[in-house]
């Protein structure tokens, strides 16, 4: 059972306000080790610097979008096994299917509550303690 207090999560979003909100939501769940990245390239840098337990990435970002990041993560030797949750803003089934095919472990639709996020995380890595 993964311990929520030791979970290392990376939030990727180009909007600072959204990153901070996601951080607050994660903190509500009990996550203490939170990294942030404002774009895909920085996310890759962060992911190659330390072991992560989860990446929560927005889809809609300039330059490298969430799918691009997902593909890059899955092709990265150090980060390829890190669970990946894609955040989408729209009810876009096509996108979610694409994400699933590219190796996303789950998705969550913005805006989300702490309960929903926790549920999604637990679906991916198991019940949190």
């Amino acid at each position: 059972m993964p311990n929520v207090a030791t979970l290392k999560v990376l939030i990727v979003d180009d909007q600072n306000s959204v990153r901070q909100m996601t951080r607050m939501t994660l903190e509500q769940i009990g996550v203490r080790h939170i990294h942030e990245a404002e774009n895909g390239n920085k996310a890759i840098d962060t992911a190659s610097l330390q072991p992560l337990d989860l990446i929560i990435s927005d889809y809609n970002m300039p330059e490298m979008d969430g799918l691009g990041l997902l593909r890059a993560v899955r092709g990265h030797p150090a980060a390829r096994r890190v669970p990946f949750i894609l955040v989408t803003g729209r009810g876009d089934r096509e996108l979610v299917v694409k994400a699933a095919q590219a190796g996303a472990n789950n998705y969550v639709v913005k805006p989300f509550t702490a309960d929903i996020l926790r549920q999604k995380i637990e679906q991916v890595i198991g019940k949190l303690s």
């Binding site: 610097l49 096994r81 009810g91």
Partner: protein, 728 residues
């Protein structure tokens, strides 16, 4: 402010950036210049607004942004064409969005049907093009049926360090005698080490002395063992960061016991097009995963080729640091104020040192010079923090021009130059309205109708050129149009009708042109709803003067006119020349000074009053006697001792100011006097000098005007009163 409020604030800041992006993107598209990237960027911006609004609970904003975004989505996927009409509708939508954001920010109640017209029009557009997919109504389903998301098993996560990229290190850790005394605790170190991976340790108790000999603050136990971890060497060393100097430490990487579960070769395999389960991701081609570096020589001895991320990732930490951060303007302003105080304090210090005997002051002076060098750099850095590209103001203009052109039935093209020129924030904030007004005037009064232009042999499409550049310590913003220019006869007639000019006064063309800045002047035959009711140009001039700028007009009949704004780089601190006239001390802004010289008596030809002419390298330069001009006493000093400051009069010409003494060059903090005393012609503000006294900062350009005006009877009467003193 609660943290949530702060986040909302951040969100609204992001919104204003997004709005600018939407606006300029749509403008590009409308001009036919937008690429796929442009529409994508616009879409992303609207989408970001919507996403944030959803998170912060601004439902009205979400609803509107959703329709907006759906139209954009249809457009970018090619389901809908980007016709001029539809882009115009989107521009309107951007206005509504701007309003909704503003209302959300202020917390004003949003009228229920606000923007519904625009929204309905967009929905109509979607319906008619058959592009509507989601019947407009969010929110998206939280779960899609039938999607096979295979959650990663928890074992996989836990096992990850052991599988992909796990390495074994042999660790020897023997605390030295000083370790405990320095308040370090070996157990904490071990606990941290264990957090990195699987740790097996054996304690070495060989050195443990008999109980009677034990010193309590001396560690006797050491540990050896193996750490299996995905962490790299640097991370392990990091654990020992505080104790490394006080212990015996060995970290030796051992050959991995097993071949990594996912060899690198497999990663480099060409991408397979198949749909795999989520846990077995599709590998990327090597080109898109640049961090897969060719194995280094060391890897030959170590089968775990990807056990070298430490080398591969080493340069990364610098990249991971955020390159920008948001700071409240208030905080920067506080620093600016402090720098101002520092400048004053430093001037005082200089003054004190100056009074000391030379043997004491020599070294001190050196130090103070160094301090002043740093202060200047500090000032420049802080000012650059406040600086913003002027593009923020320029960006509003294309829209304005389009609207005005449509309203007046004229064809106008707007050219922008120098958008990246950086200007102090406080000036940017106050530049928007004057510029808007000037451009309105240009289009309303300057640019002719296409018919008139064609008849005059001009291109039917008029051009308005808006540019900004740094020039001689100032920012020069120009609005140039190729319209009809100023009609001097009409302007003069109007001015006479309004009693601004006497019926018999003879004015030069330049003077006539400048009448447009006279209060209450309006040349429009009928008051239009565009340029307003003649509150125009005089207000514009006052606005520009309020920020320490000046405005000039040049006009060529039938060819167009140019309005030039010269703005100071900053308002708070500036370089000044401290001068003395009689017993008074003044400061002349360095940016206005061209040169200082001590002319021979024969070179100065006195005219009436405070004016004169100076023979300077073959040309005649008008000069003013500052003492006469300011009425601080007669000019008693002999001509040889007087100093002439050649200053830039603002319109490209120069003129001289005769002063008694130059006291020195220093940075001064500009304190506004207008709030307390109103605008005083010739005085731009005040400052505190090193000796703690207040000195007035002269407004050089106005001084030149003042000198000219003294030729008028009113000013001449004042000069007559000082004349007896002059003849002494």
């Amino acid at each position: 402010m609660s943290s949530l409020d702060q986040l909302k604030q951040t969100f609204f800041e992001e919104c204003s950036e997004a709005l600018l992006q939407i606006e300029s993107g749509l403008a590009d598209i409308r001009e036919g210049g937008g690429s796929d990237d442009t529409i994508n960027a616009v879409f992303r911006s609207v989408h970001s607004v919507k996403g944030g609004a959803g998170i912060f609970g601004f439902e009205d904003l979400v609803r509107f942004a959703h329709v907006f975004e759906t139209v954009l989505d249809a457009m970018r996927s090619g389901k809908m064409s980007a016709s001029q009409d539809s882009v115009d509708l989107l521009l309107t939508a951007n206005d509504v969005l701007t309003d909704l954001i503003a209302m959300s920010q202020t917390g004003d109640a949003i009228p229920a049907d606000y923007g519904s017209e625009c929204r309905a029009a967009m929905e109509h557009l979607l319906g008619q093009d058959g592009a509507a997919e989601n019947d407009g109504d969010e929110p998206a389903p939280a779960d899609f049926e039938g999607l096979d998301f295979v959650p990663v098993r928890v074992d996989d996560v836990d096992a990850a360090p052991e599988g992909g990229g796990a390495r074994s290190y042999r660790i020897v850790f023997r605390p030295g005698p000083e370790l405990l005394k320095k308040a370090n605790e070996p157990l904490f170190v071990l606990r941290e080490l264990r957090a990195l991976g699987k740790l097996v340790l054996v304690a070495e108790a060989d050195n443990l002395p008999p109980l009677s000999d034990i010193e309590p603050d001396r560690p006797y136990i050491g540990w050896t063992g193996t750490l299996t971890t995905a962490a790299d060497r640097a991370q392990i060393e990091d654990v020992f960061k505080f104790v490394a100097d006080d212990c015996e430490l060995e970290i030796v990487e051992e050959e991995a016991e097993q071949v990594p579960a996912l060899p690198v070769e497999q990663d480099l395999a060409p991408p397979a097009e198949q749909t795999e389960s989520a846990t077995e991701p599709t590998p990327l081609p090597a080109a898109t995963a640049p961090s897969i570096t060719p194995p280094e020589p060391a890897a030959a001895q170590q089968p775990a080729a990807n056990a070298e991320p430490a080398t591969a990732a080493r340069p990364a930490p610098t990249k991971a640091v955020a390159t920008t951060m948001r700071v409240e303007v208030d905080k920067i302003d506080r620093v600016v104020n402090l720098v101002g105080e520092l400048v004053i304090a430093q001037a005082m210090l200089g003054q004190v040192v100056f009074t000391l005997p030379e043997d004491v002051s020599g070294r001190l002076t050196q130090v103070i010079e160094e301090v002043s060098h740093h202060t200047r750099e500090l000032k420049d850095s802080v000012m650059s923090m406040r600086a913003q590209p002027i593009g923020a103001v320029f960006q509003r203009m294309p829209r304005l021009v389009r609207e005005l052109a449509a309203k007046t039935g004229k064809k106008v093209r707007l050219e922008l130059h120098g958008e990246t020129t950086e200007v102090d924030r406080s000036i940017i904030e106050r530049l928007g309205d004057p510029l808007t007004h000037i451009i309105r005037n240009s289009i309303d009064h300057g640019i002719e109708t296409p018919e008139t232009r064609a008849a005059a042999g001009k291109n039917e499409e008029g051009t308005v050129r808006l540019s900004a550049e740094h020039r001689g310590g100032r920012i020069v913003v120009e609005v140039v149009d190729d319209g009809g220019g100023i009609d001097p006869e009409r302007v003069l007639k109007k001015a006479r009708d309004r009693g601004l000019v006497g019926p018999d006064a003879v004015l030069s063309e330049d003077e006539i042109n400048n009448l447009i800045f006279a209060p209450g002047f309006s040349t429009a035959e009928t008051v239009s709803d565009i340029s307003g009711r003649g509150v125009g140009m005089d207000v514009v001039r006052r606005n520009i003067q309020d920020v320490g700028g000046r405005i000039n007009v040049r006009s060529e009949r039938g060819r167009g006119m140019t309005l030039q704004l010269a703005l100071p780089l900053t308002l708070a601190v500036m370089d000044g020349m401290v001068i003395k006239v009689r017993e008074q001390t003044y400061v002349v802004p360095m940016s206005a000074i061209v040169e200082c010289l001590r002319p021979g008596e024969a070179d100065i030809h006195n005219l009436m009053g405070a004016r004169g002419m100076l023979q300077l390298r073959g040309t005649l330069v008008p000069v003013v006697h500052l003492c006469d001009l300011l009425g601080v006493g007669a000019d008693a000093a002999s001509t040889e001792e007087r100093i002439v400051i050649i200053a830039d009069a603002g319109d490209g010409s120069s003129f001289g100011i005769i002063v008694d003494e130059l006291l020195g060059h220093q940075q001064v903090v500009v304190k506004s006097m207008e709030e307390s005393y109103g605008a005083v012609p010739g005085v731009g503000g005040a400052t505190i000098l090193g000796n703690g006294r207040v000195a007035l900062i002269l407004d050089v350009e106005k001084l030149s005007d003042l000198a000219v005006n003294q030729a008028s009877p009113l000013a001449a009467s004042r000069i007559t009163s000082t004349e007896p003193a002059t003849t002494e």
